[in-house]
């Protein structure tokens, strides 16, 4: 099979995603707004964890807050990818393309994954220093493979959420809604197990199992099981995203109502 053409196509889509992302978010702007925001958000939730629970709470919340930073790019920000086609009126070109819509959106999402990686690393180092937990920060950075899995799983969940949001102009509502759900149910600031129903919701959200894996890794406990669970959750959301975009394409041709346009 000739792989060079498909590689070229996806490469082009990644390239366009990067160019558009940089045009909308130039380096200078990202470094002076998005990155500080990530650091400050991480710091805020870390300190919040310490308000009721002192030193132990800060440590717990620091790990959780670092993971939460990922969602700014992968759940909230990534909705911009399909929304850009809606704003620019280019949906019909996506519908007529030789590539599947989800494939195009995934390729164009690469900058958001990179942004998640950069912001989580910067936040871990900066907040680790600010709250006197720099050795822990280094351990978290050593857990990069776990963070990468969380970045990918939350990104596909973010695209799945965006697929429902685009047609209803609900990207802000659903993207932020999911992020706040992760805060409430993902074991970010308070340990899971306080509310059973919230736990159940959290178990199917991205970040939750990855975070448990990361905590186990830092504590020196077995972590592969939770990592596998995070991968499984990500795979399930990927199926949801694929089905949702495919369904919308079919409905658009059949009913003339394009949820993506």
């Amino acid at each position: 099979m000739n792989w060079s053409e498909p590689l070229f196509r996806y490469g082009q889509a990644v390239r366009v995603g990067l160019l558009d992302h940089l045009a909308a978010n130039p380096w200078k702007v990202s470094m002076t707004t998005s990155w500080p925001r990530s650091v400050l958000q991480c710091l805020f939730f870390t300190l919040l964890g310490g308000v009721a629970n002192d030193a132990e709470g800060i440590t717990f919340a620091f790990i959780g807050s670092a993971a939460l930073v990922i969602t700014l790019a992968t759940i909230v920000g990534i909705a911009d990818v399909p929304m850009t086609d809606k704003w620019m009126g280019t949906v019909h070109r996506i519908q007529l393309s030789r590539m599947a819509a989800l494939g195009i959106f995934v390729a164009r999402s690469v900058p958001w994954l990179l942004e998640a990686l950069v912001t989580v690393a910067v936040s871990i180092i900066a907040v680790g220093l600010l709250v006197g937990r720099f050795p822990l920060a280094l351990e978290l950075l050593a857990g990069l493979p776990i963070l990468l899995v969380m970045i990918v799983s939350s990104a596909v969940a973010g695209l799945a959420v965006a697929s429902f949001a685009v047609g209803r102009n609900a990207d802000v509502l659903l993207g932020n809604g999911m992020m706040y759900l992760v805060i409430a149910a993902g074991g970010i600031v308070i340990p899971p197990g306080r509310l059973l129903w919230l736990d159940a919701v959290g178990s199917v959200l991205p970040i939750r199992h990855g975070l448990l894996a990361l905590r186990a890794y830092v504590d020196g406990r077995p972590w592969l099981g939770e990592l596998a669970a995070e991968i499984a959750v990500g795979a399930a959301w990927a199926v949801v995203a694929w089905a949702a975009f495919r369904h919308q394409t079919v409905v658009a041709r059949r009913d003339g109502v394009d949820a993506l346009a």
């Binding site: 366009v16 558009d20 009126g89 280019t90 070109r93 007529l96 030789r98 658009a252 041709r253």
Partner: protein
């Protein structure tokens, strides 16, 4: 209908159900040959864009069949898309933050143009539409005309056998519009089958070989351009003013006179003639009619397509 680039056979398209059901297209049937330009005319809501969307495979037909170079738009979607380009035009449909070159490259790739082909075709397409100098500027800095030309360049990149143009000159100044028509004419000369919709009858006049008139989703007329004008009623109106006695025009008129009226005024007369055709022969015969009277002024108004359209559209609506 073999050898036709576009074949549409009984295509209908409805939206909604029950009380909210709308018939956007009803039993449309026609064909377009390679190297032919067919214009779709009709008032807003007549079904023009719906037809373009069905042929471009963005919409499924509810009933009927359409083929593009022999490929069914429903059953053989990818092959149909491979031979067609659709240009919707307008201010949107481009990534405004990216350059024209980046847009054309990306959309060309989406349309199936290979990497090797893109390398050669992108500069050529930009040159064809006179956008080479602006190619590396963000599209958001482009004028309306430049965006429209970029849309066309994207449409041409895959070297389609069939080009679907939806209001290609909308929002363009007369010079830009003329440039765009020039590009379309060149494509026709290269054998591309072109189906275009337009509200500007100048587009039709300058480009079209045939005219399909749509009304309420149905094709009401399928005419050559000349037939279109003739069917509307008359080709020209001649107004002659003079003094003294008016010419004797009572009784039988020549065959090329469709209608005639004579008005007497205090100091003269006015004769208004509507002519079926306007040619050198008609001009000579007209001169003979007025040979023995005192003519002060002659005005000739050729029938505009707007008038033809208005008349035909009005007839179609009844």
């Amino acid at each position: 209908m073999s050898g036709q680039a576009i074949v549409v056979d009984g295509v209908s398209r409805t939206f909604g159900r029950g009380a909210t059901r709308v018939i956007a297209l009803a039993e449309a049937s026609f064909s377009v040959a390679p190297g032919e330009v067919v214009a779709l005319l009709g008032s807003n809501g007549a079904g023009k864009t719906t037809l373009i969307k069905v042929l471009s495979t963005l919409l499924l037909p509810t009933t009927g069949r359409a083929e593009l170079c022999g490929h069914d738009v429903v059953g053989d979607v990818h092959a149909a898309r491979a031979v067609t380009s659709v240009v919707f035009g307008g201010d949107r449909g481009l990534y405004a933050r990216l350059s024209g070159r980046d847009n054309i490259r990306f959309f060309g790739m989406l349309a199936g143009v290979s990497r090797r082909e893109l390398r050669g075709r992108v500069p050529t397409a930009l040159e064809q539409v006179n956008l080479t100098a602006a190619a590396d500027r963000p599209v958001e800095t482009y004028s309306k005309g430049m965006r429209q030309r970029l849309h066309l360049a994207i449409g041409l990149l895959s070297r389609p056998a069939i080009l679907l143009l939806d209001e290609p000159t909308i929002g363009l100044d007369p010079l830009e519009a003329e440039r765009l028509r020039g590009a379309v004419t060149e494509l026709r000369d290269h054998g591309v089958a072109i189906l275009l919709t337009s509200h500007y009858l100048l587009d039709v006049e300058r480009l079209a070989d045939r005219v399909l008139l749509l009304g309420d989703g149905r094709i009401r007329r399928d005419l050559t351009l000349a037939e279109f004008v003739r069917q509307a009623g008359h080709a020209a109106e001649v107004v002659v003013r003079g003094g003294g006695e008016p010419p004797a025009l009572d009784g039988a008129h020549p065959a090329w006179v469709v209608g005639c009226s004579v008005t007497k005024e205090n100091d003269g007369w006015t004769v208004t003639l509507r002519l079926r055709a306007w040619s050198a022969e008609v001009f000579r015969e007209l001169g003979a009619l007025f040979a023995n009277v005192g003519v002060h002024d002659v005005q000739v108004r050729e029938e505009r397509l707007e008038d033809a359209f208005r008349r035909l559209a009005g007839q179609s609506a009844r």
